[in-house]
Symmetry: C2
Subunit: 447 residues, 2 copies
């Protein structure tokens, strides 16, 4: 597929970014620990998945600062499937088959429910790829629409494909499009705007369950689970958990417009910056600490800000406050998460552009990923902000097989390490799912 994300073309010989050289040493240590302990890690994951089944699918954004490698966002309604390397389609197909067998063993077809009112071509390309992958896995697949469409809407995509969104009808406790009423509804809508009534109380299986939408999820809960899992894994492989986990703080309710909670926010930001500085001093890291402040519930990088000093969160002008007060679908921010910022020190050799890995998982399996190569922003800025231009650079290797005989920072081993950290975030999401949906052994989502 031609690349439509930006005019910038990536040299096709360039298959992966490089870490800035002064941070190769610390990363090598993290990677060595992971590669050497891979059996223990895999055994531990197997045990974890038995206790806490994985969500249906997900993508995880990672940041690699060399001395620290951690997740910054875990999306349970992933887009961007069009950015994956087609060579790994078979891996995706097997994983879809496993995931569906766990969620809805007698499924024959899938109805995908996408985001509302989006004409974003990248998103539509992702939907088209998703539908193709489900078809390749042997499921008849249609894409519905939550919009009040009178008739199917056709979109001609940059890839040359045509995507059709069908109007959805609810008949009793079932959804159907055009007489097609499959037993499985695949939700690709993160419900940032609240739950959708039409999805309530269906007799069809909805995967992932609507309770995993942002109307219920909390980033604080996610990263709290992540913290405790990172501690558990780090202990297993004898590594300081700080190398894998961004620190977090919570500040209760904030109303940016009314300037309520500002003092608390300022204090916590100061506290976090001091904690990071302490760790940096200990490890002789010369960077300037920064924090990320984001909506506790939401996506798309709206309502996200960076700060390198406590003053920055109090000196906000009206425009900045308005931006923080609004999240996707116009939800007001009530709770914010204060998170340790992780620098992205991976850069493409040719252009020096910052590259951020994004990993994709279906069920418990890592199925691929790509680098989000950012053509404009800097190392500490949020690469997922609105209008951000990026070029996807698909991983050329899977994240599944380590290469024990190769250098710990060979591409293959680095991607395996990314897969470990991404699965750690997935496991945190699995615990959220358990908390929100109930005990999986009573209501099995996976075997």
């Amino acid at each position: 597929m031609p690349n439509h994300h930006s005019a910038l073309q990536i040299d096709s010989n360039e298959t992966s970014p490089e870490l800035e050289s002064h941070y190769c040493g610390p990363l090598l240590r993290i990677e060595s620990h992971i590669i050497e302990s891979r059996r223990r890690i895999e055994t531990w994951f197997r045990e974890q998945w038995r206790r806490t089944p994985a969500p249906f699918y997900s993508s995880v954004d990672l940041r690699n600062a060399g001395y620290k490698l951690g997740p910054v966002d875990t999306n349970l309604f992933p887009a961007g499937f069009n950015n994956l390397n087609h060579s790994f389609d078979p891996l995706v197909v097997h994983a879809i088959q496993s995931a569906v067998e766990h969620a809805c063993p007698d499924a024959r077809g899938m109805l995908i429910i996408p985001e509302r009112h989006t004409r974003n071509q990248f998103y539509l390309e992702s939907l088209a790829t998703m539908a193709e992958l489900f078809e390749l896995a042997g499921f008849e697949t249609r894409i519905g629409s939550l919009e009040p469409l009178g008739e199917p809407a056709h979109f001609k995509l940059p890839s040359g494909r045509t995507l059709t969104q069908h109007p959805i009808h609810r008949e009793g406790r079932r959804l159907e499009v055009d007489g097609f009423s499959p037993c499985t509804i695949v939700l690709n809508n993160d419900l940032s705007g609240g739950r959708e009534e039409i999805l309530d109380d269906l007799e069809q299986t909805v995967v992932p369950p609507t309770a995993l939408g942002w109307w219920r999820r909390s980033k604080f809960d996610h990263f709290s689970h992540y913290q405790s899992l990172a501690h558990e894994l780090a202990e297993l492989i004898d590594l300081d958990p700080w190398h894998l986990a961004p620190m977090i703080l919570d500040c209760g309710q904030i109303d940016f417009m009314k300037r309520e909670g500002e003092t608390c926010l300022q204090e916590k930001v100061g506290e976090m910056l001091a904690a990071i500085q302490k760790k940096y001093d200990e490890l002789e890291i010369k960077e300037k600490p920064f924090v990320v402040i984001k909506a506790d519930a939401g996506t798309y990088g709206m309502g996200v800000m960076m700060a390198q000093s406590p003053e920055e969160v109090t000196g906000l002008n009206r425009k900045q406050r308005t931006r923080m007060a609004a999240s996707k679908d116009g939800r007001n921010i009530n709770r914010v998460l204060i998170q340790e910022g992780i620098y992205s020190f991976e850069r493409l050799g040719s252009s020096g552009h910052v590259a951020e890995p994004v990993l994709y998982m279906i069920d418990r399996h890592v199925v691929g990923g790509f680098y989000r190569v950012h053509t404009k922003k800097g190392q500490s800025e949020n690469l997922n902000s609105p209008g951000a231009e990026f070029v996807p650079l698909p991983f050329t290797q899977s994240c599944v097989t380590p290469a024990p005989d190769a250098s710990p920072d060979s591409d293959q081993n680095r991607l395996y390490c990314y897969g470990v950290v991404a699965r750690l975030a997935l496991l945190a999401a699995a615990r959220e799912q358990r908390d929100l949906v109930g005990d999986p052994s009573e209501n099995p989502v996976a075997d």
Copy 2:
């Protein structure tokens, strides 16, 4: 890995054989039916696996005559893992993880029990690859030996790897090597010579169960199951089942040395040849029918003969009879299977050598395969006979994803079709497993 099977080198640009052109038409029809019906086929397989879990692993030898595409051998203790394309290791790793989770969810390590007294370097390469793949999947893996070794035996392999076979000790109801006593024993010994006492009544999980060894399996049972499954699938996709299934006949007990059962054999061979001729006439196929007579229990192509007339099975000289009377491990042939012969009309363009596809499955997943390119024998001869020289040509694509928009006989679609037929044979083996081991729902082998 360098190729050590033969001095013949395959042109590295040559990725797949071609079918002789006069049989492309009929194959195109078979392939079109399969590709067009892929959703129905996948749905049907899913339903079948739920009812009858797949064996732990297998390889299936196929023959492609253009007008007919069928399995000729289904091995439930496969070797040849070293012939697979490394690009698909991630697929193998995921499949191993699924298979082990089904068979022994809390497994941390694997002990592989290989064939006895084999110094065959190809087999040892396969074992080394198997162990590597289990390690990549995160399991500590050792290779045991049923031989009375005093100490570990080390083998330097042509690939440069060193393989170690460890002496096995039985402690109570557990096997161990060198203090390593994993919960899972992976059997890679087809037990042609009978069951092994040391494997009886273990508290460890043995996969596949010893009951799937040739001391219990019957080819007649396998191909009977295959026949009925091929009928079921063919009906589903509106195809004459003959295109997918070799006809079989049984002849009760035969003793070649004592010439007992010879008359029956002659009659059945005549009957089978007439049935094939009738079908050939109907479909205007100009080939000469042939039958394959093989031991009902056994492997390795010993005790296999071809016949194009009934007289050929009565005019056997002493040497031929001795050969038919002996199978692997010296077992006498008691029962023989009379099977419709399927020509191999796939040839490598450069050399004209006959190529026979071999597909590998782990659990219910096709994970890859290769062409056995035969450098000496003809189209109707058995490519798996002792001393047969072949060059493995790994599949360059997976057998997992059809390409609905490409020609039905594109490489990708052909391999998908091979995957369908191979899974049909796997399903026949699953039914054997159910018959031999019991109801999987009482004793779950898969979820």
